[in-house]
């Protein structure tokens, strides 16, 4: 047998190209994709907030009844939470090497899901509720 370490890899592993992480460039690519969508969505949301600031409750409530506003505001936490979960994962992996690493990664995912779910619940209630 050859001493070449690359011979240890099966052709299937090489073709899949997923490397040691098992997920290849997925983390990098999803971070970039959500960065792109974040730019458009956050700019929309900032404009929306500027328009809504100091407006009475009824006006804000009425704005969410507009399906385009409801849909765009709903996309904000979806894109945001995926992006921030990936970012925090990198931060945890860089600085936490103790037994806390796994619990923190789990908490990170739960937090991102909670933020997204709570936002979507509120937006759905605002858009469809009486």
């Amino acid at each position: 047998m050859s001493a070449d370490p690359f011979k240890m890899r099966t052709p299937l592993r090489r073709v899949r190209g997923l490397g040691v992480s098992g997920s290849g460039t997925e983390h990098f690519w999803l971070q970039r994709m959500t960065a792109l969508s974040n730019i458009a969505l956050i700019l929309f949301f900032v404009v929306f907030l500027v328009a809504m600031h100091d407006e009475p409750y009824a006006v804000v409530r009425e704005a969410f009844r507009n399906p385009i506003i409801g849909l765009l505001v709903a996309l904000v936490p979806v894109s945001f939470s995926i992006h921030m979960r990936l970012g925090m994962e990198i931060v945890i992996e860089d600085y936490v090497h103790s037994t806390w690493k796994l619990p923190l990664r789990i908490i990170n995912t739960f937090f991102a899901v909670l933020i997204a779910a709570a936002s979507l619940f509120a937006i759905a209630k605002l858009s469809f509720g009486a």
Binding site: A35, V50, Y57, F64, M84, A118, S119
Partner: protein, 129 residues
């Protein structure tokens, strides 16, 4: 990750490097990212307050309309815009541009200028509207 300590030499850490704009913007990009992460709690609070009814919404409005609330929103908007411009800088790098020392330093400085200028412009608009 193993906790075993070895006598192997460590790579130089932060304290060994001279302060550079690119380094500062790299750190700020990460810090602003963490800040935005934690700040989403306020985003959810505002939405849930609006969904809960006029009374809950009035509490949230009172906070965001107060001096502390406005200061928070001002800082948060800069953090948001700075992270966005930092991200745009990363996109430029991903495309293989502005990698030289001079260009990357210029891009780092431009990121800070753009974020500060756009934040002031945003709040000028808020103040006028």
């Amino acid at each position: 990750m193993s906790d075993t300590k070895s006598a192997r030499p460590l790579s130089p850490h932060l304290s060994i490097y001279r302060f550079k704009p690119t380094m500062a913007m790299s750190i700020v990009h990460r810090v602003t990212g963490v800040g935005l992460y934690l700040g989403t709690v306020f985003f959810v609070w505002w939405l849930l307050a609006a969904a809960s009814g006029p009374e809950a919404f009035s509490y949230a409005s009172a906070f965001f309309g107060s001096i502390i609330g406005r200061l928070f929103l001002f800082v948060y908007s800069w953090v948001l815009l700075h992270h966005m411009f930092g991200g745009l800088r990363h996109f430029v790098w991903d495309m293989g541009h502005a990698i030289t020392r001079e260009q990357s330093t210029l891009a780092a400085q431009a990121t800070l200028v753009a974020s500060l200028a756009s934040t002031l412009l945003l709040w000028l608009i808020v103040w006028i509207v």
